[in-house]
Symmetry: C2
Subunit: 328 residues, 2 copies
């Protein structure tokens, strides 16, 4: 058993095994938690590896810096961060890297920090064969704890924004011949590249949640982000909260020009890197929030049952025979 | 200018340029600082890159895990951390990596945390071509701020432990034919490998500093660690504090079997990865501390003058024509 390779183990099982080295009271979620004098600090680290997560053809250094920050802030927001304090940056760069590449990366980083708050707190830099940008972001836990394990049967499932666009942008940037019997219109192409290269997050999300909360006793909300795709986000919520997600296919918010077809549904569910929030709320709260914020839509509900994801319309379930993005 | 490569810029200038993206009030030191409700959190990130900082021949995964933690805790201690809260771990691993390698790494990590305090707070894992272990460590700032820029002319320069052993251990592990006209004794060989593979730090350092402080008005002490070698540590202190280090060659603490000769002096000053503390104190404090703690020795003093390092004995100064370890 010990000789097994990571590629045979898979990412989920690997994370599961590594969790056994962590103390039991530590949350196994999007972020780590540090308590200091009753203030809770949220901490998140994400690494972007050249030729795994990005390459020179798909994204320019300025956009890469922006995206590296945004992917971290997305994790903070999906845990209920009320303020981003800042980030530390750990770079691995080949000696042949040009200074302008590093400068553009940092400009992109600071552009994102200017937009969403926080400063560069420190960092280090090492030589290596491939470029790696590893960012650790720090936020302050707000009064609502957003956690993967806080969904409840009966909760409405909601999502911000639209899924699949980033994947389409990735395919376009890589000039990969995506399944296309339609000619995509110019607007959708531009929007998709924008979503892939310069994803955005929702800093007002927590405030809008608090504004529409009628029952002040609810302190915990089931939530994660769709950085690994909508399917993976739903699966993480269902497993951590031990309940079953039931989706309404017709309610899924899509771009108005998003083509129909199985391949396009696959991009939608398994694409990843959209950094949308996927979460669940009691029914009244869900109605009030989606009325307040047009970017938020109901897509289904949680029910009692084994952790799983299915459609109300049984015919759609063949979609989920596909597997989500794997890191290994 | 923009087309220049990092290898032409050098590490120090690169860090200098990157510092311009940070806010002015942020310390540019061994650690980053986060203030939460008047409690200061120290944060440090260090990355170990395969074939740059380690390889399978020189160090086993258990020792690598230990060393990755210790190198981070060393930075926390050299900033005056009174307690290590924990670490987050960001791994990049090839898909062919065996699970036992990861398990041994984590065992080594937890062994170091058991010894020096702190827990694993979280982490993530990505696929990549070379192994990279990036650890972010969190500590609480104690009442004495240890900073690179707090040395003063007139201060005595002190160091914990002995330098150069880790470099010798590295050469032995790499089976590099080091300059050796002597036959090294078995004890020195074992000790050097131990220093390279399982370096130790000084968790009692801060307490001993506080015990021997007679003037309670002194809140800041010049300090760094020798992770990049004794010369680099002294240079960092001299530049940040804008003063001149004057060393007494005969006072340098060496292993009793450490051979004489220029090559061995070079290992001593430029070796690196010893994780000893290099710091400066007013004279009385320095005397009292080195009396209390036998691991601490005076090696010189700081004087007014351009940032530089020289020996009292002018003949020894040719040693410093050599350059310290560069990351690029």
């Amino acid at each position: 058993m010990h000789k097994e390779k990571l590629e045979a183990i898979g990412e989920k099982e690997l994370i599961n095994r590594l969790g056994k080295f962590m103390p039991k009271n530590q949350i196994s979620d999007d972020c780590a938690l540090i308590n200091i004098k009753n203030e809770n600090l949220l901490v998140n680290t994400d690494s972007l590896v050249e030729n795994v997560h990005f390459n020179a053809m798909t994204i320019c250094p300025g956009d890469l810096g922006w995206k590296a920050v945004v992917s971290n802030i997305s994790d903070l927001l999906s845990s209920g961060s009320k303020k981003t304090i800042g980030i530390t940056i750990s770079l691995v760069l080949p000696a042949k890297t040009e200074w302008i590449w590093v400068e553009e990366l940092y400009k992109g980083i600071n552009k994102a920090l200017k937009e969403y708050g926080g400063v560069i707190l420190g960092g280090d830099c090492s030589k290596g064969d491939a470029k790696i940008i590893s960012i650790t972001a720090f936020g302050i836990q707000g009064e609502l704890e957003l956690r993967r394990n806080a969904c409840k049967p009966g909760d409405i499932i909601l999502t911000t924004g639209i899924h699949g666009l980033s994947k389409l942008g990735f395919l376009i940037q890589n000039k990969i011949n995506f399944y296309n019997e339609f000619s995509l219109n110019e607007r959708l192409i531009i929007k998709s590249i924008e979503h892939f290269c310069r994803p955005r997050v929702y800093p007002n999300f927590l405030n809008n949640l608090l504004k529409t909360r009628s029952n002040k006793n609810i302190k915990r909300i089931g939530c994660t982000d769709s950085s690994d795709g909508l399917f993976q986000a739903l699966q993480d919520l269902a497993i951590a909260s031990n309940c079953k997600a039931i989706l309404s296919y017709e309610k899924l918010p899509k771009d108005k020009d998003w083509p129909r077809g199985d391949k396009w549904d696959e991009y939608y569910f398994f694409g990843g890197e959209d950094y949308e929030l996927v979460f669940s709320l009691p029914e009244i709260w869900a109605k009030d929030l989606s009325k307040l914020d047009n970017d938020i839509n109901e897509i289904g509900f949680f029910a009692d049952g084994e952790p799983s994801i299915e459609f109300k319309d049984n015919k759609k379930n063949k979609l989920f025979n596909n597997r989500p993005f794997k890191h290994f």
